[in-house]
């Protein structure tokens, strides 16, 4: 039994690796994923105004997927959640599933507000040029 078991109620602790190889491997994986994210970010920058909606949104989704992969490595290896028993993993992961609906519903709603404003409640065709946001008050900057 590992020396860090702190309570008699705990009958098992993951065996801790004797070396630091796994930690450094994870560091290089996280760094590589960040570099790929940055490369895609610069790609978006250089193609700004050139690309249509579909390649832009695909690249952004790819960056978001890489971010989720980074989150997996941080939680699973650095926070050792992957070494815990299944009960423990599920009690953390299952509630976070709410985010799937949370993100989809709210972004959908934001987009719907935009369409309603641009079309004055669907009463006229969209004219995005007219829809400047309210500018700041002159006094606000002081």
């Amino acid at each position: 039994m590992s020396s860090n078991v702190s309570s008699p109620e705990i009958t098992h602790a993951p065996e801790h690796a004797s070396g630091t190889g796994r930690i450094w491997k994870t560091f290089w994986v996280l760094s590589a994923l960040t570099v790929v994210e940055l490369a895609l970010g610069y790609l978006l920058y250089y193609k700004h105004g050139e690309w249509s909606y579909v390649p832009v949104i695909s690249t952004k989704l790819a960056i978001a997927a890489l971010t989720l992969l980074k989150a997996y490595y941080i939680v699973s290896i650095f926070m050792h959640l992957g070494d815990e028993i299944r009960n423990m993993i599920m009690t953390i992961i299952v509630p976070l599933m709410l985010f799937i609906w949370f993100i989809a519903a709210f972004l959908w709603d934001g987009n719907a507000w935009k369409n309603l404003r641009n079309t004055n409640g669907h009463s006229r065709p969209a004219d995005t040029q007219q829809q400047h946001q309210p500018a700041v008050d002159k006094d606000a900057k002081k």
Partner: protein, 291 residues
């Protein structure tokens, strides 16, 4: 890992053992972090909703393109990448401290805790510079009263709207009062200082400004500053409290409290918090800087 050590018919919920086979303190740290994840998630989703609801949002490659001591060089993503690598690296030193704790190596824990604290302080310094740069750096934008003035990025003002067409910019300049024209002219290269400029006539100032090929933008949604400073500030506050927690852990390690206790589990709990701070930054980096 050694999950095979658990008999298949273990009755986890019959009492006398931890159902999750980890200590109460660690379970509660995980539940706190889960609730914190929902707080950050709600902030970021609210930001996303507002961003989706407007036609033009600030382009991060224009807003975050500065680097300390690099002057006006256009370096999008560079500084925030540095901040990201600082935080990833401090996560590695934290997990190495936990690793030394498992081996009951007090000197090793001390060394890696110091490195982690330094990483946290480096990150906070970077954020302080970034905030100062945004709050004090002014860009020429159209105000709601139809005039043009230098505008900083604050919770009340956002100069990062869509570019103003040239004809509209000329019309707005006609309406702009003398003191604002002086301020705009003072931002131009080689235009002289505000005192000398204030003696010029409005027409001369306008000529100087239009001849400089100045880019003027609409002001953008005010929500940008509130979300940016609110969310990065809330994250920065987590980094700050993480540094304090790590300092306490370093002191307790030096006082040999964990050696007396027989285990270094407190370092693991502080580590969970610190990795969570890194985890949140991964998503802040995505939402504010990359997309």
């Amino acid at each position: 890992m050694s999950t095979t050590a658990i008999p298949t018919n273990t009755k986890w919920w019959n009492g006398g053992r931890s159902p999750f086979n980890i200590s109460y303190g660690k379970v509660m740290m995980w539940y706190f972090l889960m609730s914190d994840a929902f707080t950050f998630g709600a902030f970021l989703i609210s930001y996303g909703t507002i961003r989706f609801s407007v036609n033009h949002w600030a382009d991060p490659n224009h807003v975050f393109n500065a680097f300390p001591l690099a002057g006006h060089a256009n370096l999008p993503l560079a500084f925030v990448s540095l901040m990201t690598f600082i935080l990833i690296f401090s996560s590695v030193t934290m997990v190495l401290a936990v690793h030394e704790g498992h081996k009951m190596n007090r000197k090793g824990v001390e060394k890696y805790m110091i490195l982690t604290i330094l990483g946290g302080l480096a990150f906070l310094s970077c954020q302080a510079w970034e905030w100062t740069h945004l709050l004090t750096g002014e860009h020429i934008a159209l105000l709601s009263d139809g005039t043009i003035a230098p505008l900083a990025t604050t919770v009340k003002s956002n100069p990062w709207g869509a570019e103003l067409p040239h004809a509209e910019m000329l019309a707005a300049l006609q309406k702009t009062p003398h003191d604002q024209l002086v301020k705009i002219a003072a931002t131009l290269h080689g235009a002289g200082d505000a005192h000398n400029l204030s003696t010029l006539s409005d027409a001369d100032l306008m000529n100087k400004i239009t001849a400089s090929g100045l880019h003027v933008t609409n002001s953008g949604p005010i929500a940008f500053g509130g979300y940016f400073f609110g969310i990065t500030g809330f994250h920065g506050f987590h980094v700050f409290s993480g540094v304090i927690i790590n300092l306490v852990m370093l002191i307790k390690t030096r006082l040999k409290h964990f050696d007396q206790r027989g285990h270094y589990e407190m370092i693991e709990k502080a580590g969970l918090y610190w990795h969570f701070v890194d985890l949140v930054w991964v998503f802040v980096f995505l939402c504010f800087y990359l997309v």
